[in-house]
Amino acid sequence: MMADQPTTLWEVFIRARNGVSHRHAGSVHASDAEMALQAARDVYTRRGEGLSIWVVPSAAIVASDPSDKDSLFEPTGSKIYRHPTFYEVPDEVGNM
């Protein structure tokens, strides 16, 4: 038996309710966008998980390389002055 012709992979993003952003829920296979939306609805929203769905062809996503992790994200580790707790405010001044 020959394996079937591959079907496009799509990433599924769901907005759980208004006021929050779409979040990655998983992926589905479908040959076109309309079927991908339908499959995402069936696979990822069987219990009222969402109000809005995005589907994006997985191949369209540009991702950072895990091996670049250090050069991309490490530099911020030492920049503690970007956080409010770096600065001193006397207790008697109260919340700021």
């Binding site: 038996m1 394996a3 012709q5 079907t7 992979l9 998983g26 589905v28 696979v43 069987r46 895990p66």
Partner: protein
């Protein structure tokens, strides 16, 4: 639903520097994500385990799907339909998790249909009466949950995330099964006998779902070390027995095991010898329904071929007309 510890992996000790670094990350409970470096054996073990788990969900739809049209009420029918639909969904979450490791969906489906891949032995037993549907929900899904909860903390991120979703959805499966049993046990003498008969047939195969005893399972070492698996087969089996026996007694049913007794000092239920020859026979393809399950899956796949072809043709046509416009 669940694929038991068919999930074996070679216990090769990789002492390379990369492997040591990987093990350090695992020990520090750092989750591994798809594009991270990982030992080949870790990748292979996960592809095998996750895909067997996915196949089990898909084949697991068959014994219950049989009963949808014969459910005794609309309420039961709606619940069973939702449960079987969930299992289809669970199979799809798991296939997607396996694909992040570099294997294609088509390849995985092909492995199942050609009989090269294994799935849980439990689905090779027949569902003879409506009480079997209750028993499957109560016991098979109960055993599955026992197995799956620790997998929510599996070291591989996509598998753990799929398991969290599955566990959340699956607790209804067990409860609806128990409710069916409760209704039968409170019903007529015949209905209660039906429930007892189903328990008699399913109890031992359910205990086998946890896989061979720890003394015989030489393969779980690396899975434990990699934190793919967090408890041994025997410890999960014992947990299941301890949780389930009081539920069965509440139903007024008798377990088909003369050696079953509560051991006061340890606080555990002791149970009799499991027939491991039967387990191996069913796993090797010689259970009551192995051939039927695979032939039904193959037929469904073949019957759907024209739909897949049409969808591909339609997508190609749309692309052409978009480019022309």
């Amino acid at each position: 639903m669940y694929s038991q510890a068919l999930n074996t992996s070679p216990s090769v000790a990789d002492t390379s520097e990369a492997a040591t670094r990987f093990q350090k990350r695992i020990d520090a409970e750092v989750r591994i994500e798809p594009n991270d470096a990982m030992p080949e054996a870790y990748r292979r073990t996960l592809i095998r385990q996750i895909s067997q788990h996915a196949h089990s969900e898909i084949v697991g739809m068959l014994p219950e799907g049989n009963w949808i049209t014969r459910a005794p009420s609309l309420r039961r029918k709606a619940a069973l339909l939702a449960k079987v639909q969930d299992e289809g969904g669970h199979g799809l979450y798991l296939y997607a998790a396996a694909e992040t490791l570099g294997v294609s969906r088509e390849e995985l489906v092909d492995q199942l249909l050609t009989g090269r891949a294994k799935y849980s032995s439990i689905f090779n037993y027949p569902t003879l009466s409506w009480a079997d549907i209750g028993t499957i929900g109560w016991l098979v899904d109960g055993a599955a949950i026992m197995n799956q909860i620790p997998l929510c903390r599996c070291s591989y991120g996509p598998y753990a995330r799929a398991m969290i979703r599955i566990c959340k959805e699956e607790s209804f499966h067990q409860r609806q099964g128990f409710e069916i049993m409760l209704t039968l046990c409170r019903g007529t003498v015949e209905q209660k006998a039906m429930a007892q008969d189903a328990l008699n047939r399913w109890w031992w195969p359910c205990l086998m779902m946890f896989g061979p005893p720890d003394t015989q399972s030489q393969h779980s070492d690396s899975s434990m070390r990699w934190k793919i698996k967090r408890f041994t087969n025997d410890s999960l089996r014992q947990k299941f027995v301890d949780a389930t026996v009081p539920q069965g007694l509440h139903l007024g049913l008798t377990f088909p095991d003369a050696s079953l007794r509560f051991d006061e000092p340890s606080g555990h239920w002791e149970f009799g010898e499991i027939d491991w020859d039967e387990f191996r026979r069913v796993l090797a393809g010689d259970g009551p329904c192995n051939r039927e399950r695979l032939s039904v899956r193959r037929k469904a796949h073949d019957d759907g071929a024209w739909v897949r072809e049409a969808a591909h043709a339609w997508a190609a046509k749309q692309t052409v007309s978009r480019e022309a416009a």
